[in-house]
């Protein structure tokens, strides 16, 4: 079997807010083309880890390597260049309320490419069509549902054909059908574009449906309690805590 290319490498990462250490010496790797799940109970530091991966929280210690470049020590210019290759879907979609969906999706294209206005409009229509929002170009975020906001946020995250897309709790606040549609979309994007996807979630149905690799963060030990394909982890759980998490507390103990 050929060795997989490492896209993201987290090395001995410690995240702390003042004196409060949230996670300590966490290390893991995300391979190119993976749908990597960061799971864990509430307060385990999933969202903080995502914020560190996207450069919003400086780690107290350790390094994050993206495509072989040390993201934590990179110059602001290099960081910008790396972030252009990353898309992020925030929990609420984080669409700019004063802009239409088309303007939201066009923003990164206008910022980082020298494409003509016509091509940008065509790309915007394509990205919105890819997430099932064809024809919604002129709608404002306040005019669409929560699930549609997330999909529009995803269209914006995909605007620059990113190599990595981060998702923060994509299923949060969605009905089961919208949640399933978004999961399918994540798989479609991963398979058709070869995008590496990192998902922060604690939704078990999503974890098993989309995840190809994962880590389980534990608030108590401030570290990783399990890693691997979520389906495999369910079959062979390395500890009771992870088994409890993966079975909604029906087996094992927290």
């Amino acid at each position: 079997m050929s060795k997989k290319e490492i896209k993201i490498k987290v090395d001995n990462l410690t995240i702390a807010y003042g004196d409060f250490v949230l996670m300590k010496n966490v290390s893991f790797e995300v391979n190119k083309g993976d749908i990597f799940i960061i799971m864990g109970s509430s307060g385990g530091g999933k969202s903080s880890l995502l914020r560190a991966l996207t450069g919003l929280v400086p780690p107290a210690k350790g390094d994050i390597w993206i495509d072989g470049i040390d993201f934590t020590k990179a110059s602001p210019l290099d960081r910008d260049e790396i972030m252009q290759r990353c898309g992020i879907l925030y929990q609420s979609g984080a669409l700019f309320s004063s802009m239409t969906l088309a303007e939201n999706v066009a923003l990164p294209l206008q910022q980082y490419t020298d494409y003509s206005e016509k091509l940008i409009n065509e790309l915007v229509s394509l990205k919105l069509a890819l997430v099932g929002l064809s024809g919604f170009e002129e709608f404002y975020p306040s005019e669409i549902s929560g699930g549609m906001k997330k999909r529009a946020g995803l269209a914006r995250a995909l605007a620059l054909d990113p190599e990595i897309v981060y998702f923060d709790e994509p299923s949060a606040g969605l009905d089961p059908i919208s949640s399933k549609l978004l999961d399918d979309l994540i798989i479609d994007i991963n398979r058709s574009l070869g995008t590496t996807i990192v998902v922060v979630t604690h939704e078990l149905s999503s974890i098993f449906a989309i995840g190809t690799n994962s880590i389980f963060l534990d608030a108590e030990t401030k570290g990783i309690l399990g890693r691997g394909d979520p389906k495999e982890l369910l079959k062979n759980p390395p500890n009771e805590k992870l088994l409890s998490f993966l079975t909604r507390g029906e087996k094992g103990h927290a």
Binding site: Y115, L126, L130, G132, D188, S192
Partner: protein, 368 residues
């Protein structure tokens, strides 16, 4: 990159060769789409395709849409699987969303709609004032749901934390007033009356107005933004559903603290304004400190001083009510908070000026 195509027997064949990253030849693309519209069937091959990105998918998506609209055969099965999947994904949902179109009405109907909206705004504002009065009554009878800590925080924010800016601005206003007055009074050799001018001006109205404007921008805006953000975060909905009167919980602490703080800030503004006037008098008009104080003391009039305090009190009520009203009636997005804040400040200042006019007229009639 090479976008090669040819039409043979009404079948358009597009052959994609090389690198299609960042393809932006719009003219060539337009020609291709024109040819696609004329053809009966479209076939895309990509044997020589190397690299590609969304700009290529845009071309395929455009061709697919033309084919779909005009019911043409569109064959892209020889393209790489992932590219096919993307085109398929883009075409999967094809619906035309609808929303209510804006209708245009005749002017009389527009006038009526405007009148109705003004009436609704007024009744909403009056309802808010009435509810606040009821809350005030509940506060006096000890039945209001107001947390002491909220009141103390609000009082802290609008009292000693505002001392610095009120002092600075009032000092400068006194200074300016003295300067402007001195230019005219000097021509009559009556520059000593600068002391009287500044003292009367600051104590009767200018002190209160300056404090009003500062506090509208500082505290009124903060009230609107804080309560507006609570509206966005559904905190106000939570209060309502818990049965907590929002006027008790949100308006009362802010109203009470401003009503208490404003007269004190007005006194401070009066004093600092007089100090600013004294600075000009002593250092620029060569008036001795004793002399300046003597004329200032003579000009201090209890009636003027109390009128100033009364203005301060009224302005406090106006600022608190405007800030809270626009906060509570804020929309549910980030923009709305900005709009609510602007409206709160602008309305506070306009209402304060109008109120000053009305109070002055009433006092004039009463001979105060």
């Amino acid at each position: 990159m090479n976008l090669a195509y040819k039409t043979a027997g009404q079948i358009l064949t597009v052959d994609l060769n090389g690198n299609f990253s960042g393809y932006d030849d719009e003219a060539e693309k337009d020609r291709l789409f024109l040819a696609a519209e004329k053809a009966k069937a479209i076939r895309v091959t990509g044997n020589g395709l190397e690299k590609w990105d969304s700009t290529l998918v845009v071309i395929l998506y455009g061709l697919a849409k033309i084919a779909r609209q005009e019911n043409k055969d569109f064959d892209y099965s020889s393209l790489p699987d992932n590219l096919q999947k993307l085109v398929h994904l883009a075409l999967e949902v094809d619906r035309k969303p609808t929303r209510d179109e804006k209708k245009s009405y005749p002017w009389l109907e527009n006038l009526g709609a405007w009148g109705l909206s003004v009436y609704q705004s007024l009744s909403r504002a009056l309802g808010f004032i009435r509810q606040s009065m009821v809350s005030l009554f509940r506060l006096l009878t000890g039945t209001a749901v107001m947390r002491k800590i909220d009141f103390l925080f609000a009082l802290e924010d609008c009292s000693y934390k505002a001392v610095g800016i009120v002092s600075l601005v009032s000092f400068m206003v006194g200074l300016i007033l003295a300067f402007v007055g001195a230019i005219q009074l000097k021509t009559f050799g009556a520059q000593i009356y600068v002391a009287s001018l500044v003292t009367i001006g600051m104590t009767r109205i200018m002190g209160a107005i300056m404090v009003g404007i500062i506090m509208a921008g500082r505290t009124g805006a903060s009230y609107a933004a804080t309560i507006g953000t609570m509206q966005v975060n559904e905190e106000i909905d939570a209060l309502k559903t818990m049965g907590v009167p929002i006027n008790d919980f949100l308006v009362l602490p802010r109203l009470a603290s401003l009503v208490i703080a404003m007269p004190f800030l007005t006194v401070l503004a009066d004093f600092m304004g007089m100090l600013g006037g004294a600075f000009v008098g002593v250092f620029m008009l060569d008036i001795s400190v004793q002399e300046y104080w003597k004329y200032s003391e003579a000009a201090i009039n209890l009636t003027n001083f109390l009128v100033g305090l009364f203005h301060g009190l009224v302005f406090g009520v106006i600022i608190a009510m405007c800030g809270c009203y626009y906060g509570v009636n804020c929309g549910r997005n980030a923009d709305s908070v900005g709009v609510a804040t602007t409206q709160a400040v602008v309305s506070s200042i306009v209402i304060m000026i109008v109120a000053t006019g009305i109070i002055t007229l009433i006092f004039e009639v009463l001979g105060i």
